[in-house]
Structure formats: C-alpha cells, structure tokens
C-alpha cells in the first residue's frame, strides 16, 4: 500500500440560493429558510415548472483581482459561481492565494506553494447563454424562415464572439479558479452529473493522501437556471410541476407526496489540506477526511437500480476506507433529490450498508432548501455535513413532514438538533450515468 497522509478540511465556500458564504448559508439552513421561488432570470411562463433556486445577487468583482476583470466577460454563470465559491473557500481557510494577495487582503503574505496547490472541480454540461446563441442562430434564417446551415457557416457564426466556446467547456471552471488563485498542482474536472462533487472531493483526498499535492480546492458548481437546463429535466419528467404557487414546498424528498425535484444554481468549493501542512500554518481544522468510496449502476445507465446497489457499494467502500463499522456513523447526509424511484433506491442503498442503525441517527439534506443544482449539489451537502460535525448541530430538513413509510432516515423538519458527531457520511449519485460516490468525515483528533 502506498503512503497515506492524513487529510483535513480547512475551508468551506458555498454559493447557494439560501446564501453565499458559510455564515449566511448556515444561518438560513438552521432556521429552515427556503431558496426556491419563481424564476426571475428569464420568463419561465412557457414551462410547466416555473420555479427554481437562484443565488442572491453578488458582484463578481468582489471575488477576483482587478486585473482579472476582463476575463470575467468569458465566464458562464457556472464559472462565476465557482469563482465566487473559490474566494469564500480560500478566505475561510485563511489561505493567502495569489487572488487574496493581489486584492490586498489577508495579511498579504502568501502561505501556500502554488506548485503544491491542486484543483478538482466538478462541472455539468454547461448550457450556452441561450439569448446569445439563439440570436446568432436566428441570423442564419433562410427566406423560408427555417435555419439554413450554409448561411450559418458562411456568415451567421460570425455573430458569436471568438471566445464563445471557452465559456462552455466544463474545465473552464477549474481553468479560471486555478488562474485566479494560482493552483498549479494536479488539476481535474469531473463531469459525472450529480455525483461530480463527491467524486472530485474524493479524488482530491486521494491526491493529497499520496503526496501529489499539499492543498486542493475541490467541489463543484453548476447552474440549471437557464431555459435549456430547465427544458432537459422537464423533458425527462424529473421536475415538480405542481408547486408553482407554493415554491417553498417543492422538492419533498423521501415523502409520500413527492412530485419531483426543482432546478437551482449553486455549488461549493472546499479546501482539503495535508494535516501537517494545516498544522504548520496554524489553520483551523473543521474535520478529517476519513473515507471515500465509489460504485456504479450496472442495472441501467439512466434509471435507478431499485435494489440501491450502486449506493450501497459506494457507501460500503467508503466505510471500509475509513476503517469504520456501520454502527459508528452519527450523521447521514443523503442526496434526497425528491424523485420517488431515485429516493427509494437511495433508501435501499443506505439501508443495506447501515441497516437498523440508520433510523437511530440524525439525517439531513440541503435539497429542499437549495434545490437541485447538478454538479454543485454534493459540495453543498458536504459543506453542510462538515459544519454540522464541527458545530455539533444538525440543521433541519424542510419538507420532510410526511415521509414515506419506507424512509429509514431520521429528519427533523423544523428545528436544528444538538448532536455530538464523530463520523458523518454523504452520498451523491448521477441521475443519468449511474455514478455513485460517498464521502466520510470524522471529528479531528490529534
């Protein structure tokens, strides 16, 4: 077996519909605030589901050096969210990265070696800015009113800015973040739908453990607040279309009356760090990374395995990696997407790993509060889990008052609970693609 260094969590940055940065996020989460409203970014009236989770307003300039403002023009919304999360994460970790030094913040002296600073960022299938692209495509309309590809090739495409493609390559989240914060060590972009953040954080954990980097910024971000991103899950029947007039009650995971999920934008980036590196710079340690496990759905690439096997494999692998017994778990953080067949498969997966122990421990998920933001979901759940452990408080999970009788999770729908948590686990899985991944953290002890 290779060397295995201890890895700890030292920084959290989130951008969610209920708050940007961990303090607003935590306050909202623990008081049961919901971030789901009628969509404002565009007129959703043509869609059956017209609600979503949008980020509170923010200024990108607050998160990048002045010299980088020109590059902000080629950022899609997904990239902007990742850049916002990255700033919050490094500030929270007390890392004086290039961005922080250039902005004249922190104590001004760099405290991370760029060649030992990696990035692993989950991303989605980034949607083009539809107004821009559709407007350009419309210029290639032939005399018959139909799109003419020859006209497009000859002239129409000139209406797109030369750097158009660079807004939408999934690895541009990591590209911008690594430039802004000068992360030159191992870098990756995981594109596994809703499992992306878990896989990215797990891979970063391994990267540091084997000594290939000392610090990694990892997680994921995605915006599904875009007409194309709303059309896709709508076509696939994933959305709650009955809650337009009561958006705060949309997305009811594991419930008898679940009707589907709700789109959102958001994500999270977290700082993982080799323990000795964190200690050497006197960093605050939230928790220690204990286990990572992954599995795949071999039953179908786009439907849940009713037996919950992929989730069970991921969870069992993580439990084994953490050298724990299932009975050692004190907090469960499921994905809880709110789509019944997926929720049922998830219950089975957790149950087959943790058995009766599952209903004895608290559970929470951020989905009803923050919505379904693709590659960003897992990092938000991970951040909530880390804060729960560090603050010995489990936030409530909205919209879980009428759980399905088969649900084995113990949610508190209204109030936070005090709980001393030693070990906590979170699961993410892709709705299509079949990837499943689990992460386990433990309370940090010398």
């Amino acid at each position: 077996m290779s060397i295995r260094r201890r890895v700890v969590v030292t920084g959290l940055g989130v951008g969610t519909p209920i708050g940007i940065g961990i303090e607003p996020f935590w306050d909202a989460l623990t008081t049961g605030v919901c971030g789901i409203k009628r969509i404002e970014a565009f007129d959703p009236a043509g869609f059956p589901a017209q609600i979503g989770g949008e980020l509170p307003p923010f200024k990108l300039g607050d998160f990048i050096p002045k010299t980088y403002r020109k590059s902000a023009k080629v950022m899609s919304r997904d990239i902007e969210i990742a850049v916002a999360c990255a700033y919050h994460a490094v500030r929270d970790a007390g890392l004086n990265t290039k961005c922080i030094v250039d902005r004249g913040e922190g104590d001004g002296s760099p405290n991370v070696d760029s060649t030992r600073f990696g990035a692993n960022i989950g991303a989605g299938l980034i949607c083009a800015d539809l107004s821009e692209l559709a407007g350009a495509l419309a210029t290639a309309k032939g005399d018959d009113g139909v799109f003419d590809i020859r006209k497009w090739g000859a002239e129409g495409m000139q209406n797109l800015t030369p750097l158009w493609l660079l807004k939408f390559l999934p690895n541009m989240l990591a590209c911008h973040v690594t430039i802004v914060h000068d992360c030159q060590a191992p870098s990756n972009t995981v594109t596994c739908g809703e499992a992306s953040s878990h896989l990215a954080i797990g891979e970063a954990f391994r990267t540091i453990a084997r000594g290939a980097a000392d610090v990694c910024i990892c997680g994921g971000a995605e915006s599904k607040i875009n007409p194309m991103a709303l059309a896709r899950p709508q076509l696939l029947g994933r959305l709650d279309t009955d809650s337009n007039d009561r958006p705060e009650l949309a997305c009811r995971p594991f419930s008898r009356n679940s009707r589907g999920t709700v789109v959102a934008e958001g994500g999270g980036l977290v700082i993982l760090e080799a323990l000795e590196h964190a200690k050497a710079r006197g960093a605050r340690i939230y928790a220690e990374m204990a286990g990572f496990g992954a599995g795949s759905n071999a039953h179908h690439w786009a439907e849940p395995d009713p037996s919950g096997k992929p989730a069970a494999i991921a969870l069992r692998n993580a439990v084994a990696d953490a050298s724990l017994n299932p009975g050692d778990l004190d907090l469960a953080v499921p994905f809880g997407v709110g789509i019944t067949p997926y929720d049922h498969a998830e219950i089975k997966g957790w149950e087959s790993c943790f058995g009766d122990h599952l209903h004895r421990i608290p559970a929470m998920t951020t989905r009803p509060a923050t919505g379904y933001n693709g590659a960003g979901c897992g990092a938000i759940d991970f951040a909530a889990m880390v804060l729960s452990l560090h603050r010995s408080t489990v936030p409530p999970t909205r919209n879980t008052n009428e759980l399905h009788p088969d649900c084995r999770f113990s949610f508190a729908p209204n109030d936070p609970r005090d709980a001393r948590i030693r070990n906590a686990a979170t699961l993410g899985y892709a709705l299509a693609g079949g990837q499943a991944a689990a992460l386990i953290i433990k309370r940090y002890e010398e």
Binding site: L130, A134, C183, Q184, A231
Partner: protein, 434 residues
C-alpha cells in the same frame, strides 16, 4: 511498494478504421484519415473537412446487445465498440471469476453531440415574432417550441458521463465510475487517475480511455471562431502538419480509445497477456491565461517531470515521445520548448511523433488513442511518423520522425496531452518486465 498496474487489452474506433492491427499498419504507412466533412453540411464553414469515423456500426462489434443501447450518443457508440474490443483483447469475454464490484470505469468522455436540428429550429422560432420579424429571444415562445421539438432521450444522452454509464451496464462493472472532461487532455487524465485507483486499491481493474466527437455544427463553429482549426480546404489531407513551419491549426477528428488496466497480480492469476505497464502520470495546471499556454512551457514541463518522478525514471529512460502535437502554431512551439528544457541535450535524440498528423485531433479521446500507439510501438519496435512534415520550423527543431515510420527499440514511452484552459497531463508506460 505500490500495486503495479498493467495494460492487458486495447480497442479503438478511429478515422482510419476500427481494428487495432489495421489502423496501426495505416499509421506506420503514413495514411491520412482526413476527408470532407459528412456528419453535417460544412461546405460553407471556414473549415469544411475533418477526420471522421467512417462506416462504423456498434452492432458490428457487439451484435444484438446494441439494441439495448439504442438511443446512445455517437460518443457512447464509439466507446462501446472500442471497449468491447479491448475486453475481448484482454481475454475477458469468457473469463468468469471477476468480482464486478472491483471493476470500474474511468473515461475522458466528451459532451454531446448536441441534437442540433431541433435545437436550431427552436432557437430560430424563439427569435421570430408572429409577423416573421427577427426579435431578441422570447423564452416563452422558445420553451413551447423546445419542449415540442427536443427529444428526451437525445437530451439525456448528451451528458458527458453517459458513455461511462453504458460501459458499466454492458460489462457489469459495479466498481468506481468516473468521467473527466479536461478538454483535449481528458483521456490521458482518465488513464492516469484510473492507474491511481488501482494502485490505491479502489479497484482491481479499470476500463479506461476516452471517446469524443465534436464534428457537429456547434463544435466546429466553436473551434472555427477560436481560429484553432486549419482552413486548408484545398489540400485537406496535408492540413494536419504538426511541427511544420506552415502549420495553420488542428484538424478535428473523432473516435474512441479504450484500454483495460489491471492490477498485476490479477492479470497474472488469470494468465492474461501483459501488453505494457503504466508506470507514471503527472497532471498540472498552467494557471496562466484562459487562451494561451504559458510561454515557458511551465505546466507542460511540470507534468512531464511529475510523471517521470512517479515512474522512478529519468529523461534518459524515455525512448519515444508521443507528442500532443496538434499542428497549431502555439502548441507545437511550446511543447518543443518544454521537451527541450526538460530533456536538455537528450531532447534531439528522442524520436517524437504526432499521430494527429494522420488521425486528426480526437479531442477528449486523443490521449487514449495515442497511448495505444505507444503500446504498439513498444511491442513492434516501430514508431509512427509525423506526416506532412516538409518545412522545418526554427522553433520546432527536434526529431519528429518526419513522414516515415522508424525502427526504434522502445522500452519506455511518454505521451503528452494538453487541454484548452491550461490542463497538462503526461502518462508513461514501459514494456513489462517482472
């Protein structure tokens, strides 16, 4: 001691064909897979040619099983065919005794392709009012059109992780499953990370590599707008000319390359034929600019250096370099500089070739296909040429194996892949020695 990781099977779907030996012969003969684009009407595009996969049907490889995967994207169909061949090559078709939870998938699978016709139709209708006048996009009108025109399955199958999901089902691979999309570096990255998963013990076998087609209207539009593609429409088979002074951009290709990586003890216990050992991997970010490579080759040098370090090798041990060699002005110059800086005096003595001169640039799939050529170079003691090399460039002054394949004993080969956005990945393989 780390667990050792070996290659036991390989398969590909390329612009020169779909059989390992037939394509390899073509590469050694210096054949070009470039032709006028047929995937869509590109006749008026600045670039009207590409290296397409021709006459490929996934059912020809996997038979009736193809029906189960109906509706899969072009990327997924490529991946299924390449992986099925790799699986058979590794002697796994009739092998019982694998623990499916210890078999994983790690791909560098591309997104899409976008279902362009209905997308464009909805876009146009969303921008045209009742009088037929063009207006800014009306999302209400667009939504009605899009929900009517777009097909749910086609939309779902565009997700980049879908090919990996299909492979998991086809091979009953229940272990770790992941997809990376670091642009043109993706499949090298996938292979490197898959190696680490086996080394660490997350899995005993990984189906790894990449698959991608960006030969579709918006893919070519994007690269044409970036002026990254060659526009040599009048001499298309000579358009991909890596390291040549007159190069004017890359030629877009498509396809898949899949390798079976497995832990040495497993390979031995099942009597597998070992093709090569994966010994080193390095990944770095330029962290420089979104459009340009770092002018000193900083990230590329670091990736090669990390890979050498993880392999426990030095530059003196490398007998062959499969270059990223895209045929763009910037890449070829800076890749040359990086090799020169890292390899020093030895740089000019190591044969370097770019099979992109023949296959075009398979984007996310490029690295995996190129790694397969490295395995074959080790096996046969032959390295493929860089074709279309006619005019030396003072900025590219190394040995690019111009135009003719060459007999070279290759013990260790290094393969580079660099992606837009400053992503650098290097992987090193070695002929297997117990």
């Amino acid at each position: 001691m780390d667990r050792r990781v070996v290659i036991t099977g390989m398969g590909w779907v390329t612009p020169l064909g779909h059989d390992i030996e037939q394509v390899w012969s073509g590469l050694l003969e210096g054949r070009s897979g470039v032709a006028p684009t047929k995937n869509f009407d590109a006749s008026t595009f600045p670039t009207s040619f590409s290296a397409e996969v021709k006459s490929y049907r996934v059912a020809d490889v996997i038979g009736d099983a193809a029906r189960r995967h109906e509706g899969a994207s072009r990327n997924t169909r490529f991946a299924l065919g390449a992986a099925a061949k790799a699986w058979a090559h590794a002697g796994l078709d009739n092998f019982v005794g694998l623990d499916p939870t210890r078999v994983g998938v790690y791909l560098g699978g591309g997104e899409g392709p976008l279902d362009f016709a209905p997308f464009a139709a909805a876009a146009v209708r969303g921008c045209v009012d009742d009088e037929g006048k063009t207006q800014p996009l009306d999302t209400v009108r667009w939504a009605e059109e899009a929900l009517r025109l777009l097909n749910a399955t086609n939309e779902r199958e565009q997700d980049p992780n879908l090919a990996a999901g299909h492979l998991a089902v086809y091979f009953n691979a229940q272990g770790p499953n992941c997809n990376t999309l670091t642009a043109c570096a993706a499949s090298t990255q996938a292979l490197g990370e898959a190696m680490h998963m086996i080394r660490y013990g997350d899995a005993d076998m990984m189906i790894s590599g990449g698959t991608h087609s960006m030969i579709h209207p918006l893919g070519v539009t994007g690269f044409n707008r970036l002026t990254a593609l060659s526009t040599r429409n009048d001499s298309l088979q000579t358009a991909s000319r890596p390291f040549d002074r007159t190069r004017d951009g890359f030629v877009i290709g498509e396809g898949a390359g899949i390798l079976i990586l497995e832990e040495l003890d497993l390979a031995r216990s099942r009597g597998a034929h070992i093709l090569a050992e994966v010994v080193g991997y390095g990944s770095t970010a330029d962290a420089f600019r979104i459009t340009d490579i770092h002018e000193d080759g900083r990230g590329a040098i670091a990736a090669m250096k990390v890979a050498l370090g993880s392999a426990g090798l030095t530059t003196a041990d490398i007998d062959y370099i499969s270059a990223h060699g895209t045929s763009t002005e910037e890449n070829d110059k800076i890749e040359t500089l990086a090799i020169r800086k890292l390899f020093g005096d030895r740089a000019a003595q190591v044969p370097i070739s770019s099979v992109k001169s023949m296959l075009g640039h398979l984007i996310a799939a490029a690295g995996a296909v190129e790694l397969i050529t490295c395995v074959l170079a080790i096996r046969d003691g032959m390295v493929p040429p860089t074709i279309n090399y006619t005019e030396p460039d003072p900025n590219c002054d190394l040995d690019y194996v111009p135009n003719q394949a060459r007999k070279v004993e290759v013990r260790a080969a290094l393969s580079n892949s660099f992606g837009f956005g400053g992503q650098n990945d290097t992987i090193i393989i070695r002929g297997f020695e117990s």
